[in-house]
């Protein structure tokens, strides 16, 4: 399916880190089935590092590949480092995405951010990158309805 890069196809066909973490330290959910994409990210934090990252994804090939790529990119990183992962970095790592699938790369980074926020709130920690870079999430969620 050459609309997608080889890298996207690899991650789609064999997504890494799929699953749930029952006793997750943070959970972030984004998207909704109306748009056709929904992701739930689970994180396990140890020593300020993402010891484990898992997710479940409902959505298109790009959504699944993005989830997989994000999980790969942030696993083992510190929370601050993980928060520095932007949608365009994800898209780049995937060797590009079709224009109308860019929003999927947003979703991946956002879901992870939400999981970290969830962790931060639960543990009452303040992580600088978290609030600064907050994106207007609603806009993205409704992108599909235009």
């Amino acid at each position: 399916m050459p609309v997608y890069s080889e890298k996207v196809m690899q991650h789609f066909m064999n997504p890494h880190n799929v699953g749930e973490i029952p006793d997750a330290d943070g959970v972030g959910e984004i998207g909704n089935p109306v748009c056709g994409d929904m992701m739930t990210f689970y994180i396990k934090v140890k020593d300020n590092k993402l010891e484990d990252v898992k997710y479940k994804t409902f959505g298109c090939g790009a959504a699944i590949a993005v989830s997989s790529m994000v999980s790969d990119m942030v696993k083992g990183k510190t929370l601050e480092e993980a928060l520095e992962v932007t949608p365009s970095m994800v898209a780049k790592e995937l060797e590009g995405l079709p224009k109308n699938k860019f929003h999927c790369s947003n979703l991946g980074a956002q879901a992870l951010r939400k999981a970290i926020r969830n962790y931060a709130i639960k543990n009452k920690i303040d992580i600088p990158g978290l609030t600064d870079k907050e994106e207007p999430e609603e806009e993205d969620e409704h992108a599909c309805e235009t």
Partner: protein
Amino acid sequence: MRKVYMDHAGAMPLLPEIREAMLPYLDEIFGNPQSLHSWGDGARDAVEEARERVASLIGGSAEEIIFTASGTEANNLAIKGLARAKAEKGKHIVISAVEHFSVMNSARTLQKEGFEVTFIPVNGFGVVDPDEVFHNIRSDTVLVSIMHANGEVGTIEPIAEIAKRLLGNGPVFHTDAVASTGNMPVDVKTLGVHALSLAGNQFYGPKGGAALWLKRGVRMLPLMDGGIQEGGRRPGTEDVPAIVGLGKAAELAQRDLNIRMQTLTQLRDSLIKGVLSQIEHSMLTGHPVQRLPAYASFCLNFIEGEAILMLLNSHGIAAASGSACTSRALKASHVLLAMGISHEVAQGSMLFSLGLDNTEDDINYVLEKLPQVVDRLRQMSPLYSKYIKEQRG
């Protein structure tokens, strides 16, 4: 890897006989049908023979056939040309909520020109109620367009009944029979319509060969201006090979219609039975009986169509979906939504459109792979895990 093509609604391979009929018109008999010399004669004869065949397939007469390059063009010509020709009499048109985009968006363009459009709803099977059409006819209604068969779920609409209700009423009645013509009996007199769109690439003919049948005497403005081809109703150099292919496809469809329908209905029914029995949380979309012989369409809950298509493709299987992600406009099929299916469920829509090249083995192969694919995607679906958790209490 085994290859199983079940997206005949999207594209069909040319039947060898049709291919053979077309080939001479690519080079040997390359003339322009309008030319006044022997080279033109051969091309003109071929075009006129094709016209006869297409007319014969649908019970019309040859001079009522206007060749176009696509079903989309035939629909645009009909909707815009018929409405605009009658704009002085009234500016209200009636279409169903499940029309193809070429009808739906033509109507929207007419809205911008001051027409009012009434969209007739459908029931859960995608069927239009003839009463509903009738009750929405006004004194200024100039055009009604209801499709003959739906290209996404295969539901066949009660065109003849609608025509009966409209009888004596003013509006011109057009039907988009692009999905049905060549695949089931289509007769303009039985249907009682004034105009009918058809496309050869829906019945093993070539892309580029389609037509509008327009009942003698019905006024229509052309969509394009130019020379005198097709009586000035559709100018531009005739695409002779495509027209010849369409004519041949019509001839073969007329000859083989019954056997084709029988074979395909049988295959379709075993696919439908298999999917519904082997896959939990699956439903048939469209009418269970009043449906195109080749159309097996479903919604598979908790998962998304593009992902299903991609995994099926990795098994060599081709199908289609009406999910938001597959549409490029990122909207779930308006047909499924009009049938009352939720956005969420519509995301998992699948259409297997069968063809003469499919066998019982193909069905079995799909019935082996599809459940695996569905299962795999459900295993990674947050919607599915929520559902399971809810079930567990």
